[in-house]
């Protein structure tokens, strides 16, 4: 019997270990190559386990969106922000978003972050008057803020709004509806019976609306799951959240078919996303679905021809633009006065101690990386086929 047959490919420990190996062998070299090897970074973010740590996310996420860490937007001022047409709505939504912050965070600290959240949302909207705020945009913004800090969050949100989230930010939601309209055709391709059942129930697709426009940030209670999906979506085509929605519905096929064929019942069942989904499995299944039924193929259907998606049509150019990035070591200005934006969990490090802490962390990472590299090398000698089948 072959060794790999005994192995569960979705065993969390195994995924973690192999991802760590992947990170050290491929991700760090990719970050330092000139130009940055964005293709490998994408593969790392989408492959099993994702980017594993927020430290790595802070390095890789900006590269996935073609952001220069040394040219971040300045911290926005508060002047006149309440004059923005969406100010009240943003404040209302942010003030109700307590669940998005880590449990046990002191309320004063949370209040500071909520203020920053309002600022970054309004700053991006102010710079892009053609974009409209939607309820759920704040769920995307908070995820970025908690990982990469205020200034980087502005830069990332800015890029995402122009590309991946662009369709949701029209003055009306017609384009959003158009994207949701891809869901049923994907289901039809895979499971006609399930599709017909849902059509008979007239359940519609609004149950997946918040999944799509918040990248699942609004519906997942575990932040680590949200982060894992953000790794995946930042590295993928803007339509990927819809393919994941299809995968989730297909995953629950039995439950769906056993439910009364009724709009209310099905909407209720589907809109409540189970919190224990096998994310790694679903991610790889959505990638398969995407390969088998790409958006371009589905777009030929009469129902999907009426409208063009800006997110889809601009994606290719966007993706190409990410391929010419210089590594941070080259970008880094010679004079060290520039302050790289610090994320939430680095706020307290500001000042003199910051550099020491960074160096210590870097040293530790390097040592750990070397150790893991050695272990990985040994493992490669012992069971190379097991390791290689994953990459």
């Amino acid at each position: 019997m072959k060794a790999e047959e005994k192995v569960n490919p979705y065993d969390p420990f195994r995924i973690f270990w192999l991802s760590l190996h992947f990170v050290n062998l491929y991700v760090y070299p990719s970050l330092h190559s000139d130009p940055v090897d964005v293709e490998t970074l994408r593969r790392a973010a989408a492959s099993k386990g994702g980017l594993l740590s927020n430290e790595l996310r802070r390095k890789v996420w900006p590269k996935l969106l073609n952001i220069n860490v040394y040219e971040l937007p300045y911290k926005p001022g508060k002047d006149g922000r309440e004059n923005h047409k969406d100010y009240n709505q943003v404040v209302l939504d942010v003030s109700r978003s307590m669940k998005r912050f880590p449990k046990g965070m002191p309320s004063a600290e949370r209040a500071v972050l909520q203020e920053q959240l309002v600022d970054i949302i309004l700053e991006v909207l102010r710079c892009n008057p053609q974009l409209s705020y939607y309820q759920g945009y704040h769920d995307v913004a908070v995820t970025l803020l908690l990982v990469v800090g205020e200034r980087m969050a502005i830069a990332m949100l800015h890029t995402l709004s122009k590309y991946h989230l662009r369709d949701f930010m029209d003055p009306t939601m017609d384009s959003t509806k158009h994207i949701l309209n891809y869901l049923m055709p994907i289901l039809e391709e895979v499971d006609k019976e399930l599709h017909d059942f849902m059509i008979r129930a007239e359940v519609g697709t609004i149950f997946a609306l918040s999944w799509l426009i918040t990248w699942y940030g609004h519906v997942l209670s575990e932040f680590k799951h949200t982060l894992r999906l953000y790794d995946f979506f930042l590295a993928s085509h803007p339509m990927m959240p819809i393919y994941l929605a299809a995968t989730i519905v297909l995953h629950r096929e039995q439950e769906v078919k056993q439910t009364e064929c009724d709009m209310a019942m099905l909407h209720h069942l589907l809109s409540r996303i189970p919190q224990d989904l096998p994310y790694e499995l679903l991610i790889s299944q959505s990638q398969d679905l995407f390969r088998c039924y790409p958006p371009a193929l589905l777009a030929k259907r009469p129902a999907l021809q009426s409208r063009k998606s800006l997110s889809i049509s601009t994606f290719k150019d966007f993706q190409l633009s990410t391929l010419h990035q210089r590594p941070d070591t080259v970008l880094q200005p010679r004079h060290s006065g520039l302050d790289v934006a610090l994320p939430y969990d680095g706020v307290q490090q500001r000042g003199k101690g910051s550099r020491m802490v960074k160096m210590a962390v870097w040293g530790l990472s390097a040592t750990l990386g070397a150790a893991i590299f050695a272990v990985a090398q040994t493992a490669m000698e012992w069971a190379p086929d097991v390791l290689l089948q994953l990459f």
Partner: protein, 241 residues
């Protein structure tokens, strides 16, 4: 959407409906609309789960809650469709959920005058979705426990309700007993509001009932405001003619 709200509110009705065979449980579908932040989610949760939710978030799209109630010996399923308040969701998103609606609950926040001024737009919205005048509508002024910051007086609201032939209820999803009123005593006011609608719907459906409609006045006693005389019961009496 608001997954934390889900367990209690739904399981009871599911189990009880499963134990109810042939005599089909009639379902009444009620849509709850109004500006963002007026408390639609809290009101519907309060009625379906029996308590005030700890934290609510912005509703994205449409949420669904239901509860089985017993009215005069008949089990009825009350389905509440809780909608997003932001304007952009109304046009292309929520329309699907206006279909076959049996009643509409308009909600405004008594501490937010703008939410009251939006009501004509919401009423217009209903018209555009071809909801006939026979569909009962009620107006709910929420958050009346915040007495110090009231911006919409009862008189103004009552006038508005009268002009649109709707009954008015002022309540608080957080503290439903705060609007004690003359007759409510310790009863739960949010409960009373939705039960009033349920009574109204039950009595209004002669075709489905296949029996003569019951007197529509009977349902109105639940609210103290309804007994004041010149109120929205007029509207309802008309609609059931």
């Amino acid at each position: 959407m608001a997954e934390s709200l889900s367990p209690g509110e739904f399981s009871s009705s599911l189990t009880s409906s499963a134990s109810l065979p042939p005599p089909r449980t009639r379902i009444f579908k009620i849509i709850v609309i109004g500006d963002s932040g007026v408390g639609k989610t809290c009101l519907t949760y309060r009625f379906c789960a029996g308590k005030f939710p700890e934290k609510t978030e912005a509703t994205i799209g449409v949420d669904f809650r239901e509860r089985l109630v017993d009215i005069d010996g008949e089990k009825l399923k009350i389905q509440l469709w809780d909608t997003a308040g932001q304007e952009r969701f109304r046009k292309s998103m929520v329309q699907h959920y206006y279909r076959n609606v049996h009643a509409v609950v308009f909600v405004y926040d008594v501490t937010n005058a703008a939410s009251f001024r939006s009501l004509p737009a919401w009423i217009e919205e209903c018209k555009q979705h071809a909801l006939g005048t026979e569909v009962p509508r009620i107006l709910v002024g929420n958050k009346c426990d915040l007495q110090d910051s009231v911006q919409v007086g009862t008189d103004v609201a009552q006038q508005f309700a009268d002009s649109h032939s709707m009954p008015l209820f002022e309540t608080s999803a957080k503290n439903p007993n705060s609007q004690g009123g003359i007759n409510s005593g310790n009863s739960d006011h949010v409960e009373a509001i939705f039960m009033t609608v349920a009574h109204k719907l039950k009595s209004q459906k002669p075709l489905v009932l296949s029996q003569p409609p019951a007197g529509s006045g009977a349902s109105i006693n639940l609210s103290s405001r309804m007994e004041d005389g010149t109120d929205g019961s007029r509207g309802w009496a008309c609609s059931s003619c």
